[in-house]
Symmetry: C2
Subunit: 437 residues, 2 copies
């Protein structure tokens, strides 16, 4: 099975655990059997490989998520990087071209596209295998998954099937309705459109060539910024007469707000949290080292991270976005392909951060124009390269780097260091990459 | 006027802004005319000097508060340090001996004792001046302030005066009553006992010599740990027939819980806080640099500091103590006589902190047995002394100190540095002080 996971979103609705560079799908919030926590993207990836160990998984996403994906899923997963955001048609076309030209998937194989963020069980992935098998039959150009509605939702588009069999031609599509109309659709046997569909690779590649002028994946990637923003629904689905829908009646949750996300939490708290016995329906997600104490609250979610603290009535939490849009907060925590960093202190002309490198990983060899840096290794072993000179390093070592000096550190074991940056106009953009000789 | 301010309390009720070494009276929460914030102790000290610029103010307190007092009030205020906590009679006796033997106050001068933490206006200190003047007349050995009750409180002891004149002999004292009894007391003209009283210095000194075996202040200080715990009420007030009470009818609030404290706040938030329009009667006190976002809450107090985060229904917040007792949290922030420090990161074998020294101040010259330290100056100028060697320092300088090495830093301007401590068993107790040659 070839599967493209669409991983988008700025993650503002789940602030402060998500931010501009960490979308909600990377928050480790779901308890696994061994008592660890995994993120949405880790959960979905694990579930896909459980359903089909041979699956080719490609994540279609923006550049900002690449580090987090490698950090959480390792290097085996395919990533189709969108140079910029251009809506779903260009994104799916690019990922499909990536599958064909980079991964070498033949044009007659089927591809399933689905969002990275539904909260589902294993039966969902069995349904996706069926979807893929149905597309392989070639009785339609597109096969959609229709989710059996559990309530008259105003949040989803609806698919009206021609009949109520397991696989049916699609009669028509309906936009997000009001609640009364939703009730009427459901009486007519309508299904939710969860944005999950399968096709033969060549079908979308042909559509792409019809609508956009490009030769291959590399060329499409290079031209990506010039493409029109257009949705896959508008460009393809609404114009395609040969569409089928298969039914799915298992659990399917959209965990887009704190309210819905906390419903999927196994325990009422993650991290250092204390609640008194008068708290009712309270969830605490605490990413900080210090305790959160909750007393006498009802229907409240508390979430704390290095970026900030949210305390919200659960229902009200769905209106968070405009407030977060107004917060102009420096990124205080980020996952990188080599590990992560956390900002500890910000002053006018200095920033102090803790940097953790995973064993065997290293940063890019780089330099800064406008700041000096000092690394103080606090644990682990590895080596630093400073202006071409190699140096074994371990806890206690202090490495000073003047502005302009090229440097990197490569971890042998997990390695932690305190980095003090000093200078005027310290900025993440002040970074030049070099080739390590 | 000679005034002794009793400054006690572990501050657990106002966690996380107060902690074992920072009592509630040091939290900067009250807005001044110039838009700055001052603490309870700063407010009271300022109010006393406004009422009587010549006042001799002595704070009776424990060793742990000395740094905070000097940091917030400067070096002019007198401090009577209790070597350990022994209840109010030994504390008042020690402070009275301190006034006599250290400050040289004659035995026939009057002394006023009052708690450091009532939230009052200027008229309270005018009343204290009257109290002092009344004690000077010598018509009674003790003159108490009786506060006119505004409601039948179960939290206070009551004073029943013989008559309703401005100054009256005391008929009797009553313990904290239940509400019905409190109503009855108030019908009888009873007054709250706010723990404010005045006496001639020799009176308490004589009582102290009768009840405890000591020669002078130094001797009492040396013997302090051997003294019995006994309250001033029990040892003196209840046995004294010649007591008067003066009436005070102005504002007098006991800000001992988050609920009462937030009532005294001028604005609904201090620090980086955002509230949506559906919040009602919500207060945010945020001591962190990152924002707190509150949505859809009612009657809630949110308080965040480097020690932790409290989110509590206001009424429920008065039951906080047992929960905070159970929190085993490292001190993350402290005021020192020379400035302050804040812990930024804690790892198994390292601690990283930011140290701020006020201009003209320096730490003790000291060494540690079990940890190496590195200072990275991030702003300001001064000098470091390391094993006797002086060194001018400024932003960018890195000073490394091995375990055993003696060191200090003295700030010329305000000076900030990042300190990385490295070693096994890092402890605040691993500190040896030395004389700077």
């Amino acid at each position: 099975m070839n599967i493209i996971l669409l991983s988008g979103g700025s993650g503002k609705r789940l602030w402060p655990l998500s931010n501009d560079i960490r979308s909600k799908q990377f928050i480790k919030i779901f308890k696994t059997k061994d008592g660890q926590y995994e993120s949405m993207v880790q959960r979905v990836y694990r579930q896909i490989l459980d359903a089909d160990p041979e699956a080719t998984v490609t994540i279609a996403t923006s550049r900002t998520q690449v580090s987090s994906i490698h950090n959480q899923l390792g290097d085996k997963v395919g990533i189709s990087v969108e140079p910029c955001r251009k809506d779903t048609f260009p994104a799916i076309a690019l990922a499909t071209a990536y599958l064909h030209d980079v991964q070498g998937i033949p044009g007659d194989e089927t591809v399933v596209v689905c969002p990275v963020d539904p909260y589902v069980e294993q039966d969902y992935f069995e349904a996706i295998k069926n979807l893929s098998a149905q597309a392989a039959k070639g009785t339609a150009n597109l096969v959609l998954m229709g989710i059996e509605p559990t309530y008259p939702s105003e949040k989803y588009g609806y698919i009206i099937p021609e009949n109520d069999s397991a696989v049916s031609p699609v009669s028509t599509f309906k936009e997000k309705p009001d609640m009364e109309t939703a009730r009427e659709y459901i009486r007519q046997g309508a299904l939710w459109n969860g944005g999950v569909f399968a096709y033969k690779l060549d079908y979308v590649l042909d559509k792409a060539h019809q609508l956009m002028d490009f030769t291959d994946y590399k060329d499409l990637f290079a031209k990506y910024e010039t493409l029109d923003k257009i949705s896959f629904d508008y460009a393809v689905v609404e114009k395609e007469p040969a569409i089928e829908v298969t039914r799915f009646s298992g659990q399917w949750k959209d965990l887009g707000t704190w309210n819905t996300l906390t419903e999927a939490m196994e325990d009422s708290s993650i991290g250092n949290a204390i609640m008194d016995e008068s708290c009712a329906n309270v969830h605490v997600i605490n990413d900080l080292d210090v305790p959160v104490l909750a007393m006498g609250l009802r229907d409240v979610v508390i979430s704390a991270s290095p970026e900030g603290i949210l305390v919200s009535d659960k229902g009200q939490s769905s209106y968070i976005k405009p407030f977060v849009d107004k917060i102009d907060q420096r990124i205080m925590f980020a996952e990188k392909s080599w590990g992560n960093f956390r900002v500890l202190d910000v002053e006018e002309e200095s920033i102090t951060m803790k940097v953790t490198l995973n064993a065997g990983h290293g940063m890019n060899y780089h330099s800064h124009k406008n700041r000096d840096e000092v690394w103080h290794v606090i644990s682990g072993k590895g080596r630093a390269v400073v202006d071409g000179l190699n140096q074994e390093i371990e806890a206690g070592h202090v490495i000073t780097m003047k502005a302009g000096c090229r440097h990197t550190v490569i971890a042998e074991t997990e390695l932690k260091l305190i980095e003090v940056q000093l200078g005027r106009d310290i900025s993440v953009h002040d970074k030049e990459k070099h080739v390590l000789g």
